[in-house]
Symmetry: C2
Amino acid sequence: MTITSPYGFTAAGVRAGLKSRGKDLALVYNTGPLKHAAAVFTTNTFAAAPVLWSRQVISDGRADAVVLNSGGANACTGPAGFQDTHTTAEQVAEALSAAGQDVSATDVLVCSTGLIGERLNMDALLPGVEAAAAALSAEETPGWDAAHAIMTTDTVPKTIAVENEAGTFRIGGMAKGAGMLAPGMATMLAVITTDAVISQPDLDAALREAVRVSFNRADSDGCMSTNDTVIAMASGAHPNADQAGVDLEEFQTLLTEVCMNLAESLINDAEGHRHVIRVTVTNAPSEEDAETAARAVARSNLFKTAIYGRDPNWGRILSAVGTTDVAFDPAQVSVSVNGVWVCRNGGIGEDRSLVDFPPGAQVEVVIDLAAGEAEATILTNDLTHDYVHENAAYST
Amino acid sequence: MTITSPYGFTAAGVRAGLKSRGKDLALVYNTGPLKHAAAVFTTNTFAAAPVLWSRQVISDGRADAVVLNSGGANACTGPAGFQDTHTTAEQVAEALSAAGQDVSATDVLVCSTGLIGERLNMDALLPGVEAAAAALSAEETPGWDAAHAIMTTDTVPKTIAVENEAGTFRIGGMAKGAGMLAPGMATMLAVITTDAVISQPDLDAALREAVRVSFNRADSDGCMSTNDTVIAMASGAHPNADQAGVDLEEFQTLLTEVCMNLAESLINDAEGHRHVIRVTVTNAPSEEDAETAARAVARSNLFKTAIYGRDPNWGRILSAVGTTDVAFDPAQVSVSVNGVWVCRNGGIGEDRSLVDFPPGAQVEVVIDLAAGEAEATILTNDLTHDYVHENAAYST
């Protein structure tokens, strides 16, 4: 159930010595026959060196391998940091070529995660690349190793794999981080593998749509990293693959499912949270409006602390929705928390003491704008003492 | 040094019984001769009943009195809540008229602050209005009483008064709350009084400019209330007033100073903070860009928790700046924290261990974008355990 579950991929996760302990370097290799790849990157102006590099690599729609490290983001490290990324890709190409694979450095994607503003320890990283290349395997365990190696403050590795009903293609994935392409303390990285036969443009379009409704709607604390990257690679290697090309609708459904699963895993593992919260806006003028309103609530510290206090404080929910430019009639808006409509038609609804917060269950907030038919859900967390503690203490 | 310091104003603060203890109802009356008034309100779609009412009152540029209550925001209370506000204004007009003042309810501004979604206790409020009208006085103490009566989670009343050098006009003010026109847990309310001779359009323009660079740049937690209101009233009653009209430039300078002082008082008293933080963006393409970038930093929970942890984490500062659409070269940006340039030209600068965080001192963050000549400062606070505690416990 990892990135090696689809045919045509090998992986490895090793300890290079970038972090104080544990595995910290992952390699994923697409053995083909297809080498199609697509990626979505952070829009942060301070995009890290590996993002700048990988944007160039992906521009022709081909990537043979991804190398990922934790223990350093290689962001705000200037031309020297970019050179480090370049050198890393060269080392991957060299190691794979030495093993009989014909790989160019310009087809090697690089991802890094960790602290910003510090150079990577290349003396540790480069031997790590050698070790990872030597350890590449299509078995399940190396897939898990890779997922372990990209963890920073994550408490568990996040992986998944699915196969379609007809058994003609699989999609696997791994991720790390604490939120959307605007994640928590460090970076959100995800690698998706598939053995479907799919053109690069179709893979690209499917990835963008899946990310839009999954990772981009998982918003733990509203902060966007310099390193966020989601990569998809297609090998076309499934033995039963439809050589005429995968059914795109079915592929989209499964890819979205995989991304949604990983996004939920990120939110479930977000730093210091007590509650996972689903903020759904219904009956909005447009899906974009629904997302805007739901995100405003998900980013309100007052709302997030209220949920931490198990307080169905619908006033703070309305306040947040009201700061957006979404068009609706405030006298028609209703809000439910865990199924109890505590606000009806912009005013007091059912008794808020009826709202239950069962331990371990997600908190479900629904905001009915009564202004259309569109809907969207943002996944987020509450704001807790532990979040403050963990983020006040991270680098010191 | 309160709202009664300028000539032509009386005030009172009494206990009506809306809160569990303490004064909770304030009245400010402009005895004239001028009755010019201006106001800036929240842009929240769920504007509270008193905001809806006061927008109508101010539309002709005249207001005779302001009545303010804590102990209830009267927001999301529907038509009945609006009727409560109307009734409150009627009661003020009646009480003042009974005392020989000719006041119409449509010239009475109303402000409320407290929990959203609960009706006001009118049986307590209306006798409170009577008591306040009877207690109106131009002395200093009633001005302080009024400032006390509008407090919610504030720990100290906020008042100020200044006089220009020539001794021809004064400006007084009071405020409550925890931030900008996007304040903390409850509402930001401010009332400014002046005895200058100034036209209503000039007063209005001066107030908007002063609010733009003061209250609107005090951003404690990024949340905007349903009740935020800043009111200015001019009596023209200073005995030495220039009857031809105040020097507008001098008036603007002093009004901005008053608003800035009150805004700083709000941030200094924000809920549960450990540090007051000044985020200044310099050398930006425009003042708006500078404000946008500074606000992005001020709203980053990762930055705010880092400062709580006394961590000059410039990576989180750059990350936040990078999420905006401000145009700059990331390789030219430098950041200082308390005078130490920890980031130079988008990369590592001076040793971050040189940064000192003296107890009680403001934290000064400067971000030099090297992309123009404009600058702006946002005042904010760190994100602390106490903020989480106070906001998780407020209504339950």
